[in-house]
Symmetry: C3
């Protein structure tokens, strides 16, 4: 693949400077070759502008004179992402519907669908047009998969779940396994049958080996445009809003409701039956045990204001010294008391 | 499916009040329709009794006059779970043994077993009667699976492991992968071959993408009736007792022994070679680095008494202010000393 | 399998004491039978030497007179690991290349390779000699797998990734799923296509359900001899050095660089774009938010010196009492001030 710099600029609807060379790839400022295009978004990499061999750089106007060929942009990262998509090759070259798969005769497969070998598609399942199902994937009865979806290898979608359009499920994702619910009987725990389902709206991406449990009753829901990283656990009846970002290894316990545009950083844990407001951001490894009612940045176990957390964190290693100091002060006060008494 | 209210009451061996209507489903107080039955277990939902459209409600005697039709129970949650099981439909409709699977001729498959397409069953494996094996599941050589088990899609059970009766393995579960053991040689780590196995007793449930490693020598064991949630990691030679509850994303390091009726909340980490007593409850995200010898509730990293943890937690954000206060007090004491000296 | 004690000693290049009996297995001091060999490495088990029924024990010279038959070693654990490997049986008995798999005609399969049923091998993939691919595994286009590798069931290796020699990928491992990268557009997040790959060097072992994401641009790399446990998450463009040990449920965010011989204990979280020096050891459940520039042992959220962490940890439960003490001291100082004023 190759594009002229002018073609790329025109695709982005941006101006370019310098000679109109041919571009054959995308790379970082540090690694780009002469026929590759790069970008400057994080300004700490600005020092690389003088040494980069990149054929052209997407950058903001104030840096345009630092390189011989540039595309001028007010959002270089987004524009670079778009250029990368020009050069990106889709995963997987298999075409058509493999005869090595099992497709129930009552399933409905729309036009343009790709089905790799060793896929199981159950009764009354629906696969929307141009969707692509890789090997080892299981699609249970009455599952609905929208248009232009990608289900990578070894994905499991249990019966009755519903997936919107342009959804990406990375390898090993499990949608609709039973929620974790038991009722205490005399001497043992009785399974609470999980008869609800999972609904995933349009444009959601779900990372490798993430698990999203079916509801006990009703629905577990992931709102449109939400992006979920690898190894995230989402419990039964959780409601995640639109356009959220849920980073790797986060766990969200049952029946919790997450607002829109919420960002949960890696390894965060959210307790069950909680409400998290819109636009909340939670720092990595935090633990949430109560509702969060106002937008803001939070961190800690349990969470507090992020600015408080930062101060608390720098104080924490001084805790033993503080304790000793308190003992010393106590002693000094005793001494003072005695001195006063004896005066 | 439909049942008369009287049939449900009789199935539960409970009394009912009001008209004997037909019930066609189960739901929450908030979402139930007129032909659905609901329940009141968590009393914070009692306010919904006046507004629910549910045809009948399972509740404790003191609330029986709040609704027009009720089933009176001293354990509404357990009774509701039983009613849900009346309406629950099993996952998966495939019947028989698929010719698209590979079953070693020396494997023994009992009557009533279901084997989906694309299952591998190795030499001398045993599958007990009425067990159900979904697509993409691998069962190694000499594996024993008891009666009435369900192995959902893409499960892996490595060679020699043993699974009891009525065990449920959710999608992506891995039983019997090698434990993580290496011996330090001069310049590299030499693998310690993991020649033990995993034994899972009756009535255990294991959540999606959970991993339970085979022992280095001997057995890793999960006791009967224990319920394990998604993405839990259980190291080699761990012994988990009976009727435990292990919530999502918990990790238990090698050779640790967990007693009976232990509850570990989400994301707890337990160090290796430890002993945890019976009836211990550990709060979410806690870290256990030492033995726990007495029943009780524990939380924190590292764990302390839960009540202490709660007080500690509310104090934590005040730590920077405490530090400043100590500096102020120190200064005041200096001042006092000087005043006394100068008097 | 059976070996004479003299054969085992000679295999280890060590001396033995006592009668030259036949050994038929390996076990712990506690569980060994009369025809099994055991070992003493962790000295807290030395008390078992008097009661063990083991036929022989591998131990260091100073304990040689405690048992009737011994192999004398200055590294009993390593030597025992070697003896276990004599008795260990490889997982899986399937031989040859199953006709129930799908192998693209352009893939190259070297001599001695085992391919189980229901494996997908994509265009131009390369499988080195004697490698073994279990059921349900997906190998994408242009993937390179070296010699003597084992890919256990339900592994996914996405297109273009490269795996060295003698690499073990345990069940459910996902190599080369997309990294988690999005650019903010006006109202939604635009996917940053992940066009890089994953490179895994020789002698790496990757635990069950671990995920290693492909780079956005360039490579995510795991250095030779590094051992990774179950359910570890490694983000895009991470560089892990040689001979590291990464314990279960660790998460490493994108673009972070981990040195050589680094040990990360269970559930550690490492932020993105960080540098961790060689020979760093990090305690379980710790959180790393800044570069670590010097070798040493670190713990805590965020990490501090491990010795400081230990003192801090024992002080933590006393925090509420400390706070009360500060209030008391403040009051006493007020009293003293008044007394002095009134004198």
């Amino acid at each position: 693949m190759k594009y002229k710099l002018s073609e790329i600029a025109s695709f982005l609807n941006r101006e370019f400077t310098g000679e109109d060379i041919e571009i054959r790839g995308c790379n970082t400022l540090m690694d780009a070759r002469e026929d590759e295009i790069s970008f400057l978004a994080n300004l700490k990499y600005a020092t690389y502008l003088s040494s980069t061999r990149a054929g052209a750089v997407i950058l903001s106007p104030e840096y345009s004179d630092k390189v011989s060929r540039a595309i001028i942009s007010d959002n270089p990262y987004l524009d670079f992402a778009k250029v990368v998509s020009l050069f990106a090759k889709e995963q997987g070259e298999f075409k058509g519907i493999s005869e090595l798969s099992y497709i129930d005769p009552t399933a409905k497969i729309e036009a343009g669908v790709t089905i790799y070998p060793f896929v199981y598609i159950g009764p009354r399942a629906y696969i929307g047009k141009n969707s692509k199902i890789f090997s080892g994937t299981y699609i249970g009865e009455d599952v609905h998969i929208g248009n232009e979806c990608i289900l990578y290898p070894n994905v499991t979608v249990m019966g009755g779940c519903s997936i919107g359009n342009r959804v990406i499920l990375h390898p090993g994702v499990v949608i609709g396994a039973d929620g974790f619910g038991f009722a205490q009987a005399d001497t043992k725990r009785e399974k609470f049958p999980q008869i609800g389902k999972v609904v995933i709206e349009d444009d959601v991406e779900v990372g490798a080996n993430t698990t999203i449990d079916r509801a006990a009753l009703g629905e577990t829901k992931i709102g449109k445009g939400t992006k979920i990283d690898n190894q995230v656990q989402i419990g039964h009846n959780v409601q995640v809003g639109d356009n959220c970002v849920i980073v790797a290894q986060v766990g969200i316990a049952g029946s919790t409701k997450i607002g829109n545009n919420v960002i949960l950083a890696g390894q965060v844990g959210v307790g069950g039956h909680l409400n998290i407001a819109d636009n909340v951001i939670v720092g990595g490894k935090s633990g949430i045990a109560k509702d969060i009612k106002r937008p803001g940045i939070y961190s800690g176990i349990p969470v507090m204001d992020h600015s408080t957390f930062l101060k608390m964190s720098t104080t924490l290693p001084k805790l033993p010294e503080m304790r000793k100091e308190i003992v010393r002060l106590k002693k000094e006060i005793e001494d003072l008391k005695n001195q006063i008494k004896n005066k």
